[in-house]
């Protein structure tokens, strides 16, 4: 585990436990989702975040309640780490009325007004301009808030990435861009999609401060995120963080993974962020075996309750099919 000189990351027992628990919540939640998918209770596209949990968990530590979050279609982890109730996220996965988006969106479209969680966007790169605008609104209204925008390294090739980076840097907006570089966009390896594979160096061409961080190390991510968010909140303009990571599972449930080797997958699995934190915490004495057991039990209890809540939730009645297309109270 990386040592940190930043005073902001206090590796107290409770904090280490929280980091561990947050990552485990995501892991167990998604393992359950995969199971529910095979049972056909979850349908459509399901993109698992397994292996990448340290990023969402690390970054969210740096946020305040009124900060905003924009994520992608691989956003269960972000939703949970941001504090959306697991039951509501699970209900969304099942398409139920108590889902955080009333079940309209499913896996790819998780939204939550209370935590300023703006999706859940299944257009690669589509969330970046939104983040720019959210930050612009905060700035124009004099609010000291930060918008965090998560996206994959595949999105870097999109025009919307480029336009958003320039706007944010030009207008010096309070955005933290977090690139989750898991080396593949579906089956397309980074070297097949970018002429410059050192992604964080691209930020320099917008004069945006950037850093690369080990995305398998939750403390490293938290440290980098805290530093960045502090700078942004202080008015330094946008910051770019490239988190180097790997998805342990297929891109979605339809992927035969012809494009990468078992060896490569195994090598990365050995860097599992959860295992990594556990081993370090046990060795450092931050956590004891009974803490781990207790955390696991907590998580499983939460998960069971979430599934039960979701399965008990009603379906949106067909009469509401058109209800949320336009705001009802539109004038005239």
């Amino acid at each position: 585990m990386s040592e940190t000189s930043d005073p902001k990351v206090h590796l107290t027992r409770s904090h280490v436990r929280a980091l561990y628990q947050e990552m485990l919540r995501i892991r167990r939640f998604e393992e359950k989702c995969a199971e529910l998918y095979t049972q056909e209770k979850i349908r459509g596209f399901l993109h698992l975040y397994i292996g990448e949990e340290a990023i969402a968990v690390g970054v969210m530590q740096a946020l305040q309640p009124l900060d905003a979050v924009v994520a992608t279609y691989r956003e269960h982890g972000h939703a949970l780490a941001r504090g959306i109730e697991m039951g509501r996220v699970m209900a969304e996965m099942l398409g139920r009325q108590d889902g955080c988006s009333r079940g309209h969106g499913g896996s790819m479209h998780i939204f939550d007004a209370a935590t300023r969680f703006y999706g859940g966007n299944a257009i690669v790169g589509g969330g970046l301009p939104l983040a720019v605008g959210l930050a612009l609104a905060d700035r124009m209204q004099g609010r000291p808030q930060v918008t965090v925008c998560f996206f994959g390294e595949g999105a870097v090739a999109e025009g919307e990435f480029h336009e958003s980076m320039n706007l944010a840097a030009l207008w010096q907006l309070p955005v933290l861009f977090v690139c989750e570089n898991n080396l593949y966009a579906m089956g397309t390896a980074l070297a097949i999609s970018e002429s410059e594979t050192d992604i964080h160096r691209k930020a320099e061409s917008y004069r945006m401060p950037a850093a690369a961080v080990d995305g398998m190390d939750v403390v490293a991510v938290e440290t980098a995120a805290r530093r960045a968010v502090e700078a942004i909140r202080g008015g330094a303009g946008p910051v770019f963080l490239e988190c180097r990571t790997y998805r342990f599972r297929a891109h979605s449930m339809f992927d035969a993974q012809l494009y990468r080797s078992k060896d490569e997958i195994e090598a990365w699995k050995a860097k599992c962020p959860i295992e990594h934190l556990r081993a370090w915490a046990l060795q450092a004495g931050s956590l004891h075996a009974e803490d781990l057991t207790a955390v696991e039990a907590d998580v499983l209890a939460e998960l069971d309750a979430a599934v039960a809540f979701a399965e008990a939730s009603p379906w949106e009645p067909v009469e509401r099919l058109l209800a949320d297309v336009m705001t009802p109270e539109a004038p005239s």
Binding site: P129, L136, E160, N166, T327
Partner: protein, 332 residues
Amino acid sequence: MSGTSAGGAEITYRDAVREALREVLQQDPRTFLMGEDVGRYGGCYAVSKGLLDEFGPERIRDTPLSEAGFVGAGIGAALGGMRPIVEVMTVNFSMLCLDQILNTAATIRHMSGGQFSVPLVIRMATGAGRQLAAQHSHSLENWYAHIPGIRVVAPATVTDARFMLRTALLDPDPVLIFEHVMLYNMTGSLDPAADPVDIDRAAVRRPGRDVTLITYGGSLWKTLVAATELAGQGIEAEVIDLRSLRPLDDATITASVRRTRRAVIVDEGWRSGSLAAEISARIVEQCFWSLDAPVGRVCSAEVPIPYPKHLEDAALPQTPAIVAAARSVVGR
């Protein structure tokens, strides 16, 4: 061309749009105007000239050439509590931000289960007649009018140019305003009774009993000229200005067609897949048994608009074609 209605003050369409902008900028601090060359240049069509001096560069915000970026930023800013007015220079360029409009602005309310509204106004210039050729002359309002989750209006008179914007800004959902390039220089008198205006209803611009001519935007004036000509030939045409292209005001259309039993739609869009097709289909669905003749359409020829005046004129709906179509459905 003169857009005279009642006996109010004389004003150009351009000035009417500018006055509308000034008013909302003065009244609501959440409002700002953003787009290419809206500030220092004064607007591609000189609409926003002078506003930069009055409101400063934060609220009259010149953007880089990044249509997806700044339209997306407008969506984000709307989500963040602002009331952005985004200007896209010409509807042809809006292809570059159509992803943001379709996949985000129009969709986020539904996807989020009704949690988020996007109180955004997008203004675009549209239409031909200035010899701007194949990449600056189209009328794609029909495409936007196809999208659930947004509202589309087309002010054809100085009064609508002056007052629709305010109502649009009160709308919690995205509103697209299409301004036909040939109208900016038009002078008309403001209808003092029109304030506040609804933006839902079509207007009967000329009453008549023999045939209903349905149109909107730049074609309204050609259609009114045609109606005058028809009157000289003993045919009293009723002229409906749609004003709202989404939703369409079926009540006004059907009430008129049931009375006149004949209809011609005049629409500068290319014929196949035009908005005129939708109106024709609705008339048939709703008034079939009242119709005494097939519904006529006068649309643009299916060609990227050519540069030379004689070919541009030949490509667009013109008064003689409207007269001919009306005579044909009337049968004399």
